[in-house]
Every structure is written in C-alpha cells, then in structure tokens.
Amino acid sequence: MSAYMWLWVAIAAAGLVSWLTKATGHLVPERWLEHPRVLRIASYLTVALLFALFAVQAFTTGRSLAFDARVAAVAVAAVLLWRRAPFIVVVIAAAGVAAALRALGWG
C-alpha cells in the first residue's frame, strides 16, 4: 500500500481512537478514572507532548539539531504571547519573521 493510503488509514484510526476516548469518559464509573496518579499524569501529558512538539518543530531539521530563522521567529512569538497577543497574530508574526529573514538570506 502507498504512503498516501497509509496516511488515510492513520487518519481513520486517529478519529476512531479520539471518539472512543471521549465516549469512555461518559460511560465508565467516575472512580475508575479519578485516581490521583492517573489525573496527574493526564494533566502533565498535554504540557509534555505540546512542548516537545514545539521544540522539535523549532530546533530540528530531519534528525539533527538546527538553529536558523525559526529561533528568531519563536522568540518573537514568545514575546507576543507574554504580551497576551491573540493566537492568530502570534502565528502570522512568526511566519513573517522567518520569511523576512530567509528573504534576506539568513537561516
């Protein structure tokens, strides 16, 4: 099967898993899931995965570390988030910084 078809299979599977996860919460008795350890791990899971996605997206190319125009772009994004700028402004500003630096031949 082609890579394109496998991507379709993964999308369908991700949809099924997503719905089953949501449905499970509505169906199982509360005490099954409300264990303190389970709750703590679940709450840190979101932070750990999203920040790992951020780090890999910002500082790697393929299988090596890379520090290029993205470093300046995410620095600008961080300042904007700290100044409470809306999400879409942060995303567009980061794209603009990286695009401008690359147009100037850096990164």
Binding site: H26, A77, V97, A98
Partner: protein, 234 residues
C-alpha cells in the same frame, strides 16, 4: 429582531466558537504544508475533532514521522477529553443513540469549559453551554480548517513563507496557557530536552512520543491536581 438576542450562556458559546476559528485557519494551512491533501485535512478535522490531537498529528507528519507515530501522539493528546466526559456525564445523562455519538464527539476543551463555567445549581444552563459550544465550535472550526487548507494549497514553498516557524509558534501558543505553574514549566523543559536529545538517535516522531514518559515521571507522585479545561482548543 428581538429573537436574535441570545442569553448569556449562548452568547458565551458563540464567542468561544468564533474565537477557535482562528486556530482552525492555522491548522488547515499547516496541515497542507505538512503534506496532507485537502480531503485528508478535512476528514481528520471532522473525525478527530480535538485541536491538540489534530495539531499533533500534523506536527509529526510534517516532521517526517511515520503515520503511526502521528497516531500515537494524537491519541495521547486526546486522553484529556476522556476526563472531561467523566465531569460532563452527570450533567448530560441520559444520552442515547445519535445524541450519544454527537455528545461524545463534541466533548472537548471549549464545550467542557463553558458548561462547567455555569452555576452547578443550574444544570439546564450547563447543558445549553455544552451543546451550543460543542456544536458551534464544530461548525466554526471545520469551516475555517477548510478555508485554511484551500489557502495553504496556493502557498508555494512552505519554508519561504515561514510556515515551519508558524507551526512552532502555534505549538507554543497552544501550550502557553498551561505553563502557569513551576511544575508545568519543569515538565515542559524536561520534555523538550528529552525530545531534542533523542532526535539524532530515534526515527522521526518517536522523540515526541518519548516525552510522554516525562509526564508519567512527573505525575507518579505529588499533590492531587484537577484537570482544567480551557476555552482554547487545547
């Protein structure tokens, strides 16, 4: 025009729904830049329908990770929604048939946050908040994912447009509201160091999945925490 005036719960639901559209627009464009086509982007958005899981799937595919690493990361980022269902079940019961199918599908951060923001003494307002926000976000989010995906097709070289930097900024923006505590910041830092350290030695996508181990280690012991839904897609 009197009928167009909405009560406060519905107003909140509509404003939250419209606000998430901006995230959807970003996701649609980034999904196409990562290599999904328009139909894959739309199918994923409609059936996965959980912002964090969708951004994660696209992020792993964009980083040349395998579809299975993308599936695993998106599944783990959806675990939160299971706990939202636990909090919502007493409010929404009984749900049967298609009502259950849809109720589960729109059990996400925004619908949970708006539902639980209503007084506990007013279950009708909580139900209204859940359904209006859930269905409102579903419509606004998927419509704007579509617009973003179409716009993304007209963008030539993604790097020249800085879309790789935009994806990084999007993840930072999604996680930002959850970085308020010292412990969360420490978990984030450790997850980043682990993922970057493993990047040269593991196939793409797996270093991100490995960061889940940081959450297991951090959550193994300590004081009790609550899982707080946010009005953003994560």
């Amino acid at each position: 025009m009197r009928s167009l005036r909405l009560d406060p719960v519905r107003q909140q639901a509509v404003s939250v729904s419209l606000a998430t559209g901006a995230y959807g627009l970003s996701l649609g464009a980034l999904a196409v830049a990562a290599g999904l086509d328009f139909w894959q982007t739309m199918a994923m958005s409609l059936i996965v329908f959980s912002g964090g899981s969708q951004f994660a799937f696209v992020g792993v595919v964009g980083a040349a990770g395998s579809p299975w690493a993308a599936l695993g990361t998106s599944a783990l980022l959806g675990v939160r929604n299971g706990f939202y269902g636990v909090a919502l079940a007493p409010i929404l019961r009984p749900m049967r048939g298609w009502r259950f199918v849809w109720g589960a599908q729109v059990t996400i951060d925004e619908s949970t946050a708006v539902a639980l923001a209503q007084p506990a003494a007013d279950p009708q307002a909580r139900r209204t908040g859940f359904w209006w926000t859930g269905v409102g976000v579903f419509v606004a989010w998927n419509a704007l994912v579509g617009v973003g995906a179409i716009a993304g097709q007209y963008i030539g070289e993604p790097q020249a447009w800085g879309l790789d930097a935009a994806a990084a900024a999007a993840f930072l923006g999604l996680v930002w509201p959850r970085l308020a505590t010292r412990k969360a910041q420490a978990v984030a830092a450790a997850a980043a160091v682990l993922a970057l350290a493993l990047t040269p030695v593991l196939p793409a996508g797996l270093p991100i999945l490995a960061a889940a181990l940081v959450a297991v280690a951090a959550g193994w012991s300590g004081p009790a925490v609550e899982l707080e839904p946010t009005e953003a897609p994560v």
